[in-house]
Symmetry: C2
Subunit: 305 residues, 2 copies
């Protein structure tokens, strides 16, 4: 997103606490003319960076489901409390800014039908889903009570360039890419028949930009991928395009994953398509191919901590 | 609840942080043979009190909507983070205990129809509603992931004996009672035409006891009053039964209340009635009369801090 903003001529302030094991990495900003404030979004120091901006993309958060179960307090702090403090800062220094917040399809928990649209109840199965819902709803409360023009996007699983590959806790996609690139077999929990619609980061960026439309202030919008696939299909495609030769293997469910697994999930993106004309445009084959090419040219991602 | 439990022969450990301005008051326990642990439910010291109990009534929380907007972080800490820490303690020391948690109809926000049942989406209008929803959903996550037998009750506005009367921030009912008992006119924001179903504390206690039924583990249940009334009706009835002579007066909406007002709300209690045969039995006239009699005999409630 920062790369796309700079390319479009925007002046950008990046706020990142660079939490260990999370996605933040200074090397992702090398060569970009941006300011970096290295602090939590809930830190009052953020006020300096926020005061004069037109648009705030609030994409801060902890995304690991298993980590949220091992340390619920930390997840609530990073996904809810920090956002409450951040919104207080916005209200104080720049209440007219446009705010787009990224939430997650994890707030829905298990799918109740074939496709999940925004009318399905939030019923999270892990602490991360609870905390992310709280974070998004705080944005809506500040919209209703104080007129802060916030929009929340519920993203499905994201992959693509500049994702941290070395953690096993930032979703299955970076793990799949890392193992394919290092020649290790991708491990599938259970039988790998669960289905997911996955989303290339460039589609996330275009959704974030589209969501600055004032017509969707106060709204929650699903952001899904172009279609759904089984995890086996995704693993095979990544393996095959990586040319690693090691076929995916099925392994028993680790208990900490099984306890919070949601099974198959397919986002219904009708609402954002109707409101903003946005839909995901990067299909899996194209997205996986360009992602593998990106990482092959930057092998440090495979050992980055 | 503690009085009813002791009367029924239960051995009771009370955990209360006695937060300034909240409902906790040591004098409510005078004459009862109970242990009091004076700490936050998220404090690990709670483990001593929890280890051997059969049932845990988790009624801890901060209930003020306006306070939640003035200090969002504190509300999230008291209604969500403390409960996450508490559930971790339960999981560690007594995972077989039955847990009943009290949530609030505030999680729904504004009513979408004449009566609000559990199928209406949670869409809170203030930080308190967000934080209470997070607290209840954490209980459901611990039910699904770890088998902790939790049930969450969404209570409407509660009144009755032993409520703190001296705060203006614990709902409108204690304020109405205090003003009627001190001879001050009850103030109604706007025109007082908003409707609410209100609930006597003895009905809350019977709902809490009914909800220990194992058949409703993992469920969220509304707990509403016997019928709905306008705030004008409630104010007039309290004034008339108190014999204070000062008629209720209409005042302009204070901005901090107006920003988060939900208008009329009438709980649909069909689910708990079908599941447990429970419905509220104390009508307003009877409940107000006995509540006024209780406070008249204990005038210190009118000056308690």
């Amino acid at each position: 997103m920062t790369h796309a903003l700079v390319e479009a001529g925007a002046q950008v302030v990046v706020v990142d606490r660079m939490v260990d094991g999370h996605g933040g990495d200074r090397r992702n900003l090398v060569g970009l003319d941006v300011d970096l404030l290295e602090c939590d979004i809930g830190d009052p120091a953020v006020a300096d960076g926020l005061a004069d901006v037109d648009v705030i993309f609030n994409v801060a958060g902890q995304v690991s489901h298993t980590a949220s179960m091992r340390d619920p307090i930390r997840d609530l702090q990073l996904n809810a409390l920090s956002h409450a403090a951040f919104l207080e800062t916005v209200r104080r220094v720049n209440p007219g800014a446009r705010v787009v917040h990224t939430s997650t399809r994890q707030v829905y928990g298990r799918a109740k039908g074939e496709r999940v649209d925004e009318t399905q109840h939030a019923a999270p199965v892990d602490v991360n889903g609870v905390a992310k819902w709280a974070g998004e709803q705080l944005h809506l409360v500040y919209h209703q009570a104080y007129g802060i023009a916030s929009t929340c996007l519920r993203l499905t699983n994201v992959y693509g360039p500049r994702q941290r590959l070395t953690s096993d806790e930032l979703g299955f996609l970076p793990v799949f890419f890392r193992r394919a690139l290092t020649g290790d077999a991708i491990q599938l929990f259970g039988d790998g028949s669960q289905r997911r619609d996955v989303l290339h980061v460039d589609d996330v960026v275009s959704a974030l930009f589209a969501a600055t439309d004032p017509g969707v202030a106060g709204e929650v919008l699903n952001v899904g991928g172009p279609r759904d696939h089984t995890l086996v299909e995704i693993a095979r495609l990544i393996t095959s395009l990586a040319g690693s030769g090691n076929a995916p293997v099925v392994v028993p469910w680790p208990q900490e994953h099984r306890a919070i697994d949601i099974g198959s999930f397919h986002t219904d993106g009708s609402k954002i398509e109707a409101a903003l004309g946005w839909s995901a445009s990067i299909d899996l084959e194209q997205g996986v191919g360009s992602t593998l090419a990106f990482y092959r040219e930057r092998p440090w991602y495979l050992s980055s901590t």
